[in-house]
Amino acid sequence: MPEARAVTKRIVLDLDRCTGCRACGAACHVGHNDQTNLVPGIVADVAVLPVHCRHCEHPACAAACPPGALYRDASGFVRRSELLCVGCHTCSIACPFGVIPDTLKRHVAPKCDLCVDRVIAGGIPRCVATCTSGALSFVDLQESVGSPEYVGGRIQSRAILRRA
């Protein structure tokens, strides 16, 4: 079996452009058979932003998962096995970014799979495809870090000044 190529692209959010329309969440919900893997981050009454799983290099959720249902696959995606997950919520407590909701769907924890079905076929994740404002992009993380708009994490913005 050929070695899976690591996918270095990740979802980056442009804070300047997000209008808070929640289309990304709807696309995720519909595309994953009514399981919403994308958490809306609600910033008081200011904004609603999508908060994506970062697919960490050393994922805390996977380290904490008792049955070993969470793992980092060959392409670098942190994935969850539907069969092994027992719905114990440990991952949602362990995740430092709060991107795994603690509400179960079909008895398993909702977890972003970066729309692996589309990405391995050369496509882009559903939330990025549906984004109404062009705020979400699926880009090579190394390129994003080099761009002047890069703020940190998975965020870019022209309006927010970077710290020196």
Binding site: R17, T19, A23, A27, H29, D34, D45, A129, T132, S133
Partner: protein, 611 residues
């Protein structure tokens, strides 16, 4: 179905496309079925995007509550029937009413999801029956389209999104990005392409669109018309400005709004407006984009007309984003055919005529007047009619009062053309067959039309509406002199309720009222209160408040909106209870029904807390 099959999102007039596909493992994916939705990056004006509603467009076709069989209400009992029987039933009842009262006793209402061909078939049916009463039943769009027609403005239209991308000066009136979220891409492209681009937003509240305003003109509630009128006055007085034929009429009307009065009424000064008008005039690519502000401002018709006139005066392109997917196309078909002429009733007039008994039969195709006009006489009209025929994909309030309920198809199940807000025709390709025995409205209209002998066109009483440009400025002058503009004046103990824009209607019977994700994306209607207002009332975010107006009352949970002006509260008009709180007014000049902001009183509701 081929690989190039495209379907169109029915939820606003943007005309977004998506690609239906088959999933071999899915139950709905048979020979005539579709099971997957995919994005269409190089298709329509959305460039692949779909909003929260568009993403669930597929759900309309596979929804478990779809109507699948004609239902007849005969001798006090409802019973399922076959199509032949249903058509014969409807035709015989229409014939009976026509024989007794003439063709004018029949009225036809068309919903915004019909295709142009279906609107044509409705016109043919109206000719065969001999009625002049045919109109579009979509209150939001009716007010906007009537206002623009009434103003007589002839601005250049925004023909595609690429023109918005290239704009360097934009004036946005209303909450465009909530009404049509997929318009965000081109608008933000224009805004971020150059730091000096003007993207002015006129809105009293901090809407999703106002967030991106540069500058955001936060006017006093109900002052949008004053702000646009002041901009129009600046544009007409500018040196070297072309003088449109209506300039003199306009100047006379605008003389009722001096600069000092503008500042007092709107909180916006001429000094703030002048550079925006200058930017729009100097282009080279400028645009005025209007979104329906249904229930958020007095006189949406005047706001729409003024926006169109301003676009013409400064030489900018104009776009009116509407709620109905094909409101533009249906209105075009009806206007060309001369419906409803001066002798015919518009939608609100028709509902009134049914209640008074002048019109006996109401044929409603693809619309739900009760869901669209809650708190008005619509429900009464449907019950009062001797014959109510409703075609609908879903059961709703209108369906409950129908003598004949005929199951209809949705977008994705029918072929035809529609016109989006850009005015360009788009073709609908059916991706699957309607469920059960449901039929397209075209098939239903053709079957009904075939039962009536065609008349010669000259035998049909038809009068083409006269353009009424001058009346617009008379109406405007009256508005500036009237007290209607003063509703924002502070009154102790009562608050002005402004409707927040929304492109969904949660009412039973409306397409979006049934969708699972639309409910999630717009979770619960919340009452927006300013921080000071909430403190005075002793409530915090999440508390329950009883809201009362002259027309109704409801209970809403509180959301704190720090930026709200004093004395103003907001709630989304998608909620039927909220629409019931607002004031519906018939505008005689444009013969439409408009939803207005209204005064409400608030009272905290004590909830029992269980440990």
């Amino acid at each position: 179905m081929t690989d190039s099959a495209r379907s169109i999102c029915p939820f606003c007039s943007m005309g977004c496309t998506w690609r239906p596909g088959r999933d071999p493992g899915h139950a709905c994916s048979g020979e005539a079925g579709v099971a997957t939705l995919d994005y269409d990056p190089d298709g329509g004006p959305n460039r692949g995007s779909l909003c929260a509603k568009g993403n669930v467009a597929l759900e309309l076709m596979t929804h478990p509550r779809r109507l699948e069989t004609p239902i007849l209400w005969d001798e006090g009992r409802a019973r399922p029937a076959g199509w032949d029987e249903a058509i014969a039933f409807v035709v015989s009842r229409i014939e009976r009413i026509r024989a007794a009262h003439g063709g004018r006793a029949v009225g036809i209402l068309l919903g915004p999801h019909l295709t142009n061909e279906e609107a044509q078939a409705a016109v043919r049916l109206a000719e065969a029956i001999g009625t002049p009463h045919v109109d579009l039943c979509e209150p939001e769009d009716h007010a906007v389209l009537s206002g623009i027609e009434f103003s007589g403005a002839r601005p250049a239209r925004v023909e595609n999104v690429e023109q918005i991308d290239a704009m360097n000066a934009l004036l946005l009136v209303g909450d465009l990005l909530t009404l049509a979220p997929c318009a965000a891409k081109p608008v933000l492209n224009a805004r971020y392409r150059n730091r000096r681009h003007t993207v002015a937003v006129v809105s009293p509240t901090k809407t999703r669109t106002a967030w991106f305003g540069r500058p955001a003109l936060r006017c006093e509630p109900n002052a949008e018309a004053s702000v646009l009128a002041a901009m129009l006055a600046i544009a007409l007085d500018a040196k070297g400005a072309p003088a449109p034929a209506w300039a003199e009429d306009a100047r006379r009307a605008l003389s009722h709004l001096p600069a000092s009065e503008l500042t007092r009424a709107s909180g916006i000064s001429v000094a703030q407006l002048a550079p925006i008008v200058e930017a729009l005039r100097n282009g080279p690519a400028a645009g005025v984009l209007l979104a329906s502000e249904f229930g958020a401002t007095e006189r949406m018709d005047l706001v729409a007309g003024l926006a169109a006139l301003l676009a013409e005066a400064v030489g900018a392109r104009f776009l009116a984003m509407l709620e109905g997917a094909n409101s533009v196309g249906i209105r075009n078909v009806l206007r060309v055919a001369g419906y409803p002429g001066p002798a015919g009733h518009t939608a609100p007039e028709l509902l009134e005529a049914v209640v008074t008994g002048d019109v006996k039969a109401l044929l409603v195709f693809g619309a739900d007047p009760v869901a669209a006009h809650p708190g008005t006489i619509a429900g009464q009209a449907l019950r009062a009619a001797e014959l109510t025929v409703v075609t609908a994909p879903f059961p709703g309030a209108a369906a409950e009062g129908a003598h004949a309920l005929l199951p209809a198809a949705v977008f994705g199940e029918k072929a035809g053309t529609i016109h989006s807000a850009f005015g360009t025709p788009a073709t609908l390709v059916p991706a699957m067959a309607p469920p059960g025995r449901a039929r397209t409205d075209l098939a239903i209209l053709d079957a009904l039309g075939a039962a009536f002998p065609r008349r010669a066109a000259s035998a049909v009483p038809r009068q083409v509406a006269e353009p009424r440009h001058h009346g617009f400025f008379d109406e405007l002058a009256l508005f500036f002199q009237s007290e209607a503009r003063e509703v924002h004046a502070r009154e102790p103990g009562s608050h002005l309720l402004l409707a927040e824009a929304s492109s969904t209607n949660a009412a039973e019977g409306s397409l979006t009222g049934l969708l699972s994700w639309a409910r999630y994306a717009y979770p619960e209607p919340l009452l927006g209160l300013s921080t000071a207002h909430a403190a005075a009332l002793g409530v915090r975010a999440g508390d329950l408040v009883r809201v009362r107006s002259n027309w109704g009352q409801t209970e809403l949970r509180v959301r704190i909106d720090a930026g709200l002006p004093e004395g103003v509260v907001t709630a989304p008009h998608r909620d039927p209870a909220v629409r019931g709180l607002l004031r519906w007014r018939r505008e005689t000049a444009v013969r439409t029904l408009d939803l207005r902001p209204d005064r409400v009183s608030l009272e905290r509701v004590e909830e029992e807390h269980h440990a």
